[in-house]
C-alpha cells in the first residue's frame, strides 16, 4: 500500500462557504520526492494539514473521503500518533521553534514522546549532525539566521525519525543561496535515508531538479500529476500561472527554433550538457 493515500478527499474549514480542497485522489509511494505546487490559495497547505491530522483534529471543519498515512486512517488517530510517521516543517522558521537553545528544540518532540534520556541524546546529536548544525547546539534559535533556523526546524522533525516529511514552503523566507542549500539537505534526506518527501515550493527553478514527481493544484483540485518533464510540457500548467523553470523555457524557445534537445532539462547544468551534445552532433 502507498505510504500516503487520499480517496475522494474534500475538506471545508469551519464557517467556509466552499471547500478549500475538493475531490482529491492521490497515492504517494514510499521513498518518493514529490513537489507540490500551484498558485497562492489553491489549497496546498490545506492538503498537507490533512497528512498529519491537523485536519480534522486541530482545525475542525468538514472532512469527506479518507486519508491513510503509513497505514493509519488520519481521522481515527490523534495528531501525536501520526507525528511519529509524518513530520511537518512550516514556512516561518521563527514560529516553529520554542526552546531557548537549539539542542532543546530538537529534543522537544522526543521529550513529548517520553523517550528515555540517552535515546533522546543519541537522536538529537544525530539529527544535528545530519542537518549540519551540530556547532550551533547551544545557541538560542532567535539569534540564528533564517536558513539556520529552518535547519533547526528540519532537525527537530528529523529527530523523530518519521517515514514522511512534509515541508511547506521551507525556503520562502530565505535568500536563493540558503534556499538552495536547504533543498540540497532535503534531497539528501530523501536519497540517503529513504524518507518520503512532499515539498511545497514556488521556486521551481530551484526545486524541480530534485523531484521524482510534480503535483500541480489549482482552486482546490489536483490538475496535473506526474513526472516533471512531462508536466512541464503540458499546456495546462501555463493556464494556472505556475512559472516554468528558466531552463524549461529555454528548451521551449530552442524547440520553436527547431533545435531539439534530447530531453527537457531541469537544471542549468543539465541544460548546458544537452546543448553541448546538440552542438557536437551538428558539427560532426
Amino acid at each position: 500500500m502507498a505510504v500516503i493515500e487520499a480517496r475522494n478527499l474534500t475538506y471545508s474549514y469551519p464557517f467556509a462557504d466552499k471547500p478549500a480542497i475538493e475531490d482529491i485522489n492521490l497515492a504517494i509511494e514510499r521513498g518518493e520526492f514529490v513537489l507540490l505546487t500551484g498558485p497562492s490559495g489553491c489549497g496546498k497547505t490545506t492538503l498537507c494539514r490533512c497528512f498529519n491530522g491537523l485536519i480534522p483534529h486541530f482545525y475542525g471543519g468538514k472532512l469527506e473521503g479518507e486519508v491513510w498515512v503509513a497505514g493509519l486512517k488520519t481521522d481515527e488517530h490523534p495528531i501525536h500518533e501520526l507525528a511519529k510517521h509524518v513530520g511537518l516543517v512550516f514556512q516561518n522558521p521563527e514560529n516553529q521553534l520554542f526552546a531557548l537553545t537549539v539542542e532543546k528544540d530538537v529534543a522537544f518532540g522526543l521529550e513529548n514522546l517520553g523517550l528515555p534520556r540517552d535515546e533522546i541524546r543519541r537522536r538529537v546529536d544525530w539529527a544535528l549532525k545530519v542537518t549540519g548544525i551540530y556547532d550551533l547546539k547551544d545557541r538560542a534559535p532567535f539569534e540564528l539566521s533564517g536558513g539556520q533556523q529552518q535547519r533547526v526546524a528540519i532537525a527537530s522533525i528529523l529527530a523523530m525519525q518519521p517515514e514522511i516529511m512534509v515541508l511547506d514552503e521551507p525556503t520562502s523566507f530565505l535568500d536563493p543561496l540558503s534556499a538552495r542549500s536547504i533543498l540540497e539537505t532535503i534531497y539528501q534526506l530523501n536519497r540517503e535515508l529513504g524518507i518520503t518527501i512532499i515539498l511545497i515550493e514556488h521556486r521551481l527553478d530551484l526545486a524541480a531538479r530534485y523531484a521524482d514527481r510534480i503535483i500541480v493544484m489549482d482552486r482546490g483540485h489536483i490538475i496535473l500529476d506526474g513526472e516533471p518533464r512531462k508536466i512541464f510540457l503540458d499546456d495546462r500548467i501555463k493556464l494556472v500561472g505556475v512559472g516554468l523553470p528558466k531552463v524549461v523555457r529555454l528548451y521551449l524557445a530552442l524547440r520553436d527554433d527547431n533545435v531539439n534537445l534530447k530531453r527537457v532539462p531541469l537544471s542549468p547544468e543539465e541544460a548546458s550538457r544537452l546543448i553541448a551534445e546538440v552542438l557536437n552532433s551538428d558539427r560532426s
Binding site: 501525536h80 513529548n112 517520553g114
Partner: protein
Amino acid sequence: MSIFEGLRFKTISSPIHRIDPRAKFIYVCVLFAIAVLFSQLIPLLILFFSQMPLIIIAKLKREWLRLMRGSMFFAAIIFIANMVSLYFYGGTQSLAAVVEHSLAMTTRFLILVESFSIFFATTSPDMLSLSLEQIGVPYEFCFAFTTAIRFVPVLAEEAQTIMDAQKARGLELERGNFIKRVKNYIPILIPLIVSAIRRSMELAEAMESRAWGASKKRTSLYSLKMKTKDYIFIVASIIVLLVSIYVRFFISIPSVTELMHLG
C-alpha cells in the same frame, strides 16, 4: 528598558551561574528574610554591600550599576513617601532619625531588587523552568514560561517594525495631549495583537506536529542534580539567616544618629 536589562539572563558562565537554581532561590529567600528582619540603616547597608563579592564573581558589575541607576526613580519615591509619612504622622522623631529611617527603607528596597537580579541574571530561563518542573510544577506552566521569554525579543522587534511602518505612513506618536497620545498607539497595537494571535496559531500547529501531549510522563533531555557545592551554598545561607536572627534579637545595634551624638 534599563531596569529589565539587569534582570535579563546573559549567556556567560561563572561559579554563581553554575549553582543549582533551587539553591540560589533559597539564598534569595534568606536575603529577603534578613532584609525584612532588620529595619535599621546600618545592618541593611551591610547586607546591601555584602552582595558585592557575589556580583563580582558573577561578572555582573556593569549590569549591577545599570540596575541601580534604573532603580533610582523608585528608590526616590520610596524615600520621599517615607519622609513625608514619618515627618507628618510619625510623632516626635527628630529630622535626623526620620531621614535615617527613610534611607533604611530605601536600602531595603534596593536589596530586594539586587537579590532578584542576582537570581535572574545568573539563572538561564531553561534551568529555571527545569527546576520548576522538578519541584512538581506542571509542564504546561513551565513551557508557557520559557515560550514567553523566548518571544519577548521577537515581539519587541515586531512592535518596532510596525511602529516604523506606521510612522512611514504619517502616524505621529508624539503629537497632542495625553489622551491623544494614547490613541496614537492604537494603529500599532491592533496589528501587533493580530499578528500575535496568528503567531500563536502557528506555534500551536508546530507543537501538535511534534507530538505535544503524546505521553503522560514526559521525559527531559536534562535533569538538574544538586551537587555538594549546592548543599554547601544552602547550608551557608541558612547559617547566615540564623546568625542574623540572633543578632536581631540579642544584640542591640546603634543607629547612625546615636553614633553621631556620641562622637
